[in-house]
C-alpha cells in the first residue's frame, strides 16, 4: 500500500492489524505522534488525515491506501511558536497531539459555513479530546486563542 506522509510517498507492506500510529512510529520512524492510550481516549496520537484531525491509534493503516497524512514533524504552524511562548506543555508527551488537534480545529472553525466565535469556552470544548496530565490547559488555550485571533 501507498501512504503519503508529510508530502513523502511511502510504499509499505505490513500486517493488516497495524494501526496508522504504529505504522508511523514503528515502520516510518516518525515518533512525533504519541501513544498515550492506544484506544482513542487521550488524543496524544492525533494527526491530520487529508487535513482533518483524527486519532491515528484507531485507524488501521491498511484502510489508507493512497491517503495523505500530516504529523507534527510535517507542520510549520504559528501555533507551535505560541506553545513555546505560553508554556503550553510540561512533559511534552501530549504536545504533538495538542498541536495537530489545534491546527485541525482551527481549520474546522474557518471552513465552517457558519463560523463559530472561538471564545475560550469554545476552544476548550473543541480541544477536549486532548488530555494533558501536566495540566497545561490554560496555557494551551492562550496559545490557540492568539493564533485564532489573527
Amino acid at each position: 500500500m501507498d501512504l503519503v506522509v508529510n508530502g513523502d510517498r511511502h510504499t509499505l507492506e505490513m500486517d493488516p492489524r497495524t494501526t496508522l500510529l504504529d505504522a508511523l512510529r514503528e515502520h516510518l520512524g516518525l515518533t512525533g505522534a504519541k501513544k498515550g492510550c492506544d484506544h482513542g481516549q487521550c488524543g496524544a496520537c492525533t494527526v491530520l488525515l487529508e487535513g482533518r484531525r483524527v486519532n491515528s491509534c484507531l485507524i488501521l493503516a491498511v484502510t489508507l491506501d493512497g491517503a495523505s497524512v500530516t504529523t507534527v514533524e510535517g507542520l510549520a504552524h504559528p501555533v507551535q511558536e505560541k506553545f513555546l511562548e505560553h508554556d503550553g506543555f510540561q512533559c511534552g508527551y501530549c504536545t504533538p497531539g495538542q498541536i495537530c488537534s489545534s491546527v485541525g480545529m482551527l481549520d474546522e472553525a474557518l471552513s465552517d459555513d457558519d463560523p463559530p466565535e472561538l471564545s475560550d469556552a469554545e476552544i476548550r470544548e473543541r480541544m477536549s479530546g486532548n488530555l494533558c496530565r501536566c495540566g497545561a490547559y490554560p496555557n494551551i488555550v492562550r496559545a490557540i486563542r492568539e493564533v485564532a485571533a489573527r
Binding site: P16, H39, R52, V54, N55, I59, T63, M105, D112
Partner: protein
C-alpha cells in the same frame, strides 16, 4: 488483536462471509479488537461505498448516508436548522477527532461501555455468553435502570442515537436478501436471556442510510456526564416538542445511558400529549415512564436525574 483478512466492499449487497464484520470509522470496532472483545476473521471496509451524502427527501425530511462522518452530520446546515437535537447530540459525544472518523451507521451499532464487557478477562454474558454478569453485584453505577435483565444491564452509549430515536428516524438497510427499512427502535434487541444478541440485522446486512421525517417541533438534547467533556453520558434526554396555546400537541422523548438501547419514552409521551405545557405535567410524564425503572444499589440516582432533565429540557423548549 487476532489476525484477520481485509477487503474492501464494492457494492451495497456484497454481504459478508461467515466470521466477517463491516468496518467503517473503526472508532469502536478497532478499539474492541485490540481488547480482544471483538475477534472478526474478515474485515470488510465499507468506507469506500458511496454512502457519505446528506440529501433532502421529497417529504421535507432528510436522508443521512450511513457513511457520513459525525462531524459533517453535526455541521450540516439542514441538521443545524431543522434538527438541532441531532446536531447537539452528535457534538456532545466523543471528541473532535473521533467525530471526524465515526460514521452514522457505526454510531448506531456501537457496543456498550460496560466495564466488564470492555475487559475480555472479566465474566460477561455479552462477550462470553453464560459466563455471568458481575455488574449486578459489582460496578453498575452507570448501567441500566430500564430494559435490563438478570443477564445484562449494559447501556447503549450513543448520544446521536438518542436524538435519532426522538426524531422518529427510519433505518435503511441493504443486504444479499435485498433492501428494507424499519424504525430505529426496531434495530435494537433488549438483552433478555441473550444479551450477546444486540441488533436485528441479519448477517451481511448493512445500514445504508438513516431517514428523518420532515416537520419536527422544536428540539433539544441535554447530556450529563462525570466531567465537562469527552466522557460518555451518565444520563441524557432528547426531546422534540410542539406546544399550541399552552397545550402539548406533540412530543417525542428519548433517554440515553439508562437502558440497553436508546430509550423511547412512549409512556411519558402518552402522559403528556394534550396536557398543559407546565413543569407539573412534565414531571408527571417523566414519572409515568420511570415507574418501570428497576434500579440497583448504585444507580437509582438516574431516576432523579432523568426526571429533572425531562422537566428542564421541556421547560426550555416550551
Amino acid at each position: 488483536m487476532k489476525t484477520f483478512t481485509y477487503r474492501t466492499a464494492t457494492a451495497l449487497d456484497d454481504g459478508l462471509e461467515p466470521g466477517a464484520t463491516f468496518l467503517a470509522g473503526g472508532t469502536n470496532l478497532v478499539d474492541l479488537m485490540k481488547l480482544g472483545v471483538a475477534t472478526p476473521e474478515v474485515l470488510v471496509d465499507v468506507t469506500k461505498l458511496p454512502l457519505d451524502e446528506v440529501t433532502d427527501l421529497p417529504d421535507g425530511g432528510l436522508r443521512i448516508g450511513a457513511g457520513v462522518r459525525n462531524s459533517d452530520l453535526a455541521a450540516h446546515p439542514r441538521v443545524r436548522r431543522d434538527y438541532p437535537v441531532l446536531s447537539q447530540a452528535v457534538l456532545a459525544g466523543a471528541s473532535g477527532q473521533l467525530r471526524n472518523m465515526a460514521t452514522t451507521g457505526g454510531n448506531l451499532l456501537q457496543r456498550t461501555r460496560c466495564r466488564y464487557f470492555m475487559d475480555a478477562t472479566m465474566p460477561c454474558n455479552k462477550h462470553s455468553p453464560g459466563s455471568g454478569c458481575p455488574a449486578r453485584s459489582g460496578d453498575h453505577r452507570n448501567l441500566a435502570i430500564l430494559g435490563g435483565s438478570s443477564s445484562c444491564i449494559a447501556t447503549h452509549p450513543s448520544d446521536m442515537a438518542v436524538a435519532l430515536t426522538a426524531l422518529d428516524a427510519v433505518v435503511q438497510v441493504s443486504g444479499p436478501a435485498g433492501a428494507r427499512s424499519f424504525p430505529l427502535g426496531d434495530l435494537y434487541l433488549l438483552p433478555g436471556e441473550t444479551p450477546h444478541r444486540e441488533f436485528t440485522l441479519e448477517h451481511g446486512e448493512l445500514i445504508t442510510a438513516v431517514d428523518l421525517p420532515g416537520g419536527s417541533g422544536s428540539s433539544a438534547y441535554r447530556k450529563v456526564r462525570d466531567r465537562a467533556s469527552y466522557a460518555f453520558a451518565v444520563g441524557s434526554v432528547a426531546a422534540v416538542l410542539t406546544v399550541a396555546e399552552g397545550t402539548v400537541t406533540d412530543v417525542r422523548l428519548a433517554f440515553g445511558a439508562v437502558a440497553p438501547k436508546p430509550w423511547r419514552a412512549h409512556a411519558a409521551e402518552e402522559a403528556l400529549r394534550g396536557r398543559p405545557a407546565t413543569r407539573e405535567s412534565f414531571l408527571a410524564a417523566a414519572d409515568a415512564e420511570l415507574a418501570a425503572a428497576e434500579p440497583l444499589r448504585d444507580n437509582a440516582f438516574k431516576i432523579t436525574l432523568i426526571r429533572n432533565l425531562v422537566a428542564s429540557v421541556l421547560e426550555g423548549l416550551s
